[in-house]
């Protein structure tokens, strides 16, 4: 999309004229030979008719304004004529542009810059696939290493008497990842509760079993949905923040500064976030469970005419403590995964702006993937255990 500004004004449009005088070609340039005019002049200056000419002259004495792009066009004509064995005997520009002439002329005939060719074809696809695969495996390997390091540091932090947890940072993380996430988690859980109740009731109506909407809601929310929606929101909200924050610190050399000051970066940056989220995510999950079920309960009351006392009675018989615990036990695992991935990707950021964005995206995608994969693992585990 081209958009030539009306504001680049050209006072006198540039002109180009060729004259023949015997066997000499005379090229007369006049007007403003400036950047905005070059697009128009470019084809004209490339096609100077020279058939039968023995010598040439470029007369720019009528030029009213000249800049480096315009000067380049004049010089390019000269080089082209010289190359066609029509030597340019006279090359005139107004006196005030002689320094510009020598500056542009100094380099002689500059070759246009070349661009690196964009790779394509089957080989390239294979190469990319291979690179991607190796990268994915290496990343997995590195992440296991990181998991080990964080585990060791966590245990050390708790066991070694000399070490102290960075307590203010830890509390701060709970606030950042937990407290400030309450509105969005609450809202989404509430809407999800409504949706689930409505859809469930619609299907169960066919069997005249609307009362089981409550069972569906209670079991579904407590076991799966509450913790899953919370984890996904937190991965998008806090996992990305971890990566972007730590990544920006790397770009600013803050991490290097911490290392030279003898500070333990894993402890200060990773541990506070991991432990903070380990506390915050279960609390958020509990909150989401309650709000989601309230949403479903209101829906039942308004649409299905299941009154709140009936709902509570049915609810009690539908779930046991285990149902709730099965959901809750996943929360710290998800929290660990999200915080670990977020910090891991943040520490891998290279020192440029694009890298922060790339790794933040990757961090969110990976943590959501791992959360759902872990959830599937839990489902299999619980069904084998018969819970």
């Amino acid at each position: 999309m081209r958009n030539v500004a009306p504001s680049i004004r050209v006072d006198t449009p540039a002109t180009l004229r060729t004259e023949r005088r015997g066997n000499a070609v005379r090229v007369v340039a006049a007007g403003d030979w400036v950047t905005t005019e070059t697009a128009r002049l470019d084809p004209e200056t490339r096609n100077i008719a020279t058939t039968g000419a023995g010598e040439a002259e470029i007369d720019g004495s009528g030029i009213t304004a000249l800049d480096s792009a315009g000067m380049w066009l004049l010089l390019r004509m000269k080089y082209a004529l010289d190359a066609k064995r029509v030597p340019v005997k006279r090359f005139v520009v107004p006196d005030r542009y002689t320094t510009l002439l020598s500056a542009v002329e100094r380099e002689g005939l500059v070759e246009p810059v070349t661009h690196k060719p964009r790779p394509h074809g089957l080989n390239y696809i294979l190469e990319r696939t291979g690179k991607g695969t190796v990268l994915a495996f290496r990343q997995g390997y590195d992440m296991v290493g990181f998991l080990g390091r964080v585990t060791v540091e966590t245990i050390e932090a708790f066991l070694e008497p000399g070490k102290e947890l960075p307590f203010p940072g830890f509390i701060n993380q709970i606030e950042e990842t937990g407290l400030t996430a309450l509105p969005i988690v609450g809202l989404l859980a509430f809407l999800l509760g409504i949706t689930l109740a409505y859809q469930g009731a619609d299907q169960l109506k066919r069997f005249d079993a609307q009362i089981y909407t409550i069972d569906l809601l209670a079991v579904g929310f407590l076991r799966e949905l509450g913790v899953l929606i919370t984890a996904i929101i937190v991965a998008g909200r806090s996992g990305s923040a971890f990566t972007a924050h730590i990544g920006t610190m790397r770009v600013n050399e803050e991490i290097d500064a911490m290392k030279t000051l003898g500070l333990n970066t894993t402890e200060l940056l990773v541990l506070t976030r991991v432990l903070g989220l380990l506390v915050a995510l279960p609390l958020l999950t509990f909150f989401a469970d309650i709000v989601g079920i309230i949403g479903g309960m209101l829906m039942c009351d308004l649409e299905l005419h299941i009154t709140i006392p009936v709902f509570i009675r049915e609810f009690k018989s539908a779930v046991s403590l285990n149902t709730f615990l099965v959901g809750m036990i996943k929360a710290p695992v998800f929290a660990f995964v999200i915080a670990l991935v977020g910090c891991f990707e943040g520490l891998r950021v290279e020192r440029n702006a694009a890298s922060v964005g790339l790794l933040t995206t990757r961090s969110v995608v990976e943590s959501i993937f791992l959360v759902i994969a872990c959830d599937a693992g839990f489902s299999v585990l619980f069904s084998k255990l018969g819970i």
Binding site: S102, E107, V110, P112, V113
Partner: protein
Amino acid sequence: MSAPPNTKDSVVIRIRGLVNAFGDRIIHDHIDLDVMRGEVLGVVGGSGAGKSVLLRSIIGLNHPKSGSIQVFGQETAGVDAEDMRGLQLRWGVLFQDGALFSSQTVTENIQVPLRRWTDMPQPLMDEIAAVKLSLVGLPKEAGQLLPSELSGGMRKRAGLARALALDPELLFLDEPTSGLDPIAAAMFDQLLNDLKESLGFTVFMVTHDLDTLRDTADRIAVLVGGKVKTGTIATLIHDPDPWIQQYFSGVRGRAALSA
């Protein structure tokens, strides 16, 4: 667009009663400053004296509290986007570390303004990019590199090439030699002088570097205590202000050494 010679001593930037403040802290206290066509004005001042804020106010990245700034006779505060663009096309800015777009090669960086504001076909743009690279003294191969693959000095030159893409009449330089070794800095000063002579632009330069000031600046504006004092090294050296005294004592020392 080179300056027509008959307007040699007209004012390019006219600042009147400029006030900038962050909260209670007053950065600029009713500053008046003129920059003449074709001159190199060096702006110096201690850290936090508001050199960069002044530059950013002129180019419209910072909105001053009050006062007027005219560039090419046009007010920069409160103009509509179209008029601002008209001004932007007539000036080029070199940011402190080049501010090259990190996902594009040097060539693509130089071609960004060309692509946006002219109808040049790609082959001509490639030629023009090569001309600009040679003007700023970069080898042709540098055009293919990404900004992260360049050294600090090369990044500044590449940034300068992008600033010069549309042949501006006015060039803003933010600490052009900071972070360069003395030899590279001296080469940059030389380059600036050469380009100024051949392309005929006006320069507004924020700098700390005394050598750069001595070698390139026609006039110096010192920001001190929210006010501005202008002069040449020869006149400012006699200014009683303690900051200015201390700042230029280095020059005096060197002059004494070389005598």
